[in-house]
Amino acid sequence: MSGVERIKAAVNFQPPDRVPVIAQVFGHAATVAGVPLGEYVRSGKALARCQLQALKQYDYDAVFALMDTSVETEAVGSVLTYRADQYPSVRTYALSDGTDLEGLSIPDPHRAGRMPELLEAASILRREVGDDVLVVGCVLGPMTLATQLVGIEVALYLAIDDPERFSCLLDFATETVIQFGISQIEVGAHLPIVFDPSASPAVIPYQFFREFELPRLRKVFASFKQAGAAVNWLHIAGPAEPILSLYPQAGVDIANIDYEVDPLGAQRALPQTCLDGNIKPLAFVEATPDVVADEASKLMNLFAARGGFIMSSGCEIPPESRPENIAAMVAAARERI
């Protein structure tokens, strides 16, 4: 089986030839290649080169055309601070409280900010790996993009003080995400993962997620499927267990679970949805290969009878992780009979 076939088998609860394994290696690929993170997130060519090198080193089932969480907001107009060895951060938000949302236009993914660079990365990666492994692009979820457009505190207060205006902000974010994600599929990504940490129950209550975010995620995922996405993958970090049961309504095929989520609880909440996770990210920095392999083995045991599982970390594998720990997770999955 190819990586793509293996992952699709897991999504459909059919037996793959082995447990698929996706290391959420983003900036770590730059570390592996000796490229400054600040360059990695600004050059599609550099990003693709680093991802391919990391793929060669670790031999897992997916690569990522993923820069950071500021690509969309920069394309809309936020000003970022770049540093050589860190992900960029927002210095000035694109929108302020008084911004006229109706006057804004959706950024063109082929022209705005670093969006074209990310598209180039996705295009190169697909050309190089074909269907051997999954090429995963990335968009933010509407809630997370909304918080990145005005700042999280302003966004949350706006949701309560002026829900109508907040809804307009979310709608703008939704359209931005849809256009960007479809462009990624058009240039070759098998799918864009939807990364939505601000929609975590650690940030917003269940009812808020259901009322504001769920309908928009449904729209995003329906648009991606229509554009040809191989699968729909939702990544909400933190203790997401209370909202997992809503994911099928959004059209989610793969649900990422962070290390704080009980895998058995996730199985109960999502009996027919493929799960990926959930080794603690810090383990890749601080633990030993034996510990990581043991954690991976325990997880695979929990899913052995059920299937519908992709071995992975709970969230991003930190850039400074020890390569031998990532290799241990991949080996545990590959050696599993």
């Binding site: 505190e153 949350l156 309560i160």
Partner: protein, 212 residues
Amino acid sequence: MSTSMDPLVKALLDGDQIQAVAEARRLCDTGVAHERIVTEGIEVAMGQLDTKCTMEQFNLLEIMLAGRAVMGVIKELYPSGAPPLQTKGTVVMASPEGDVHDLGKNVLRVVLTAKAYHVVDCGKDCPLDRLIDAAEREGAFAIAVSGLMTSLIPQVRQIRDKITKRGLGHIKVMAGGAALKQASAESLNVDFLAQTAFDGARYLDQIAGGGQ
């Protein structure tokens, strides 16, 4: 007119800043002392919020709304910005250098302010030396650091040794935030690892004035 604190406590818990400020003003007009509004209104509300915020129910939105209402009431009571009352002690806090996220730290600041601590916020992306300088200058009994990036861990581990070398070993060090809380207090070389802002506040309540 009633001097009951219940409507104020409810407004604070609802995160209704306008109503909370109106209630505080009404209580002032009836002659209730400011200190009583703080201890029997704000602190009671924060205590109830603490109880409500179990790990399962904790979410930033509710905390932020309650926090905004609390700060609105404190501003109403003490418009000059003077310390509201005898403080429980001074806490110096920051997001360490390299981390530009500060929401978690800001939430802790609100919770501690509402619980009558004097809080000195050194901001985000703060070098350790600046944080420790502030702790010494302000006579802090605790330093709190929040981090969303695992790459901060080596810095956090240095705090204990740095303050000890400067003769400030009596200051307690507390850490929290999504990245740091994946570790343990021992591995971070800190006195306490807070799972939430309230968890951290409870720890500070235990040691404040106790000199343990």
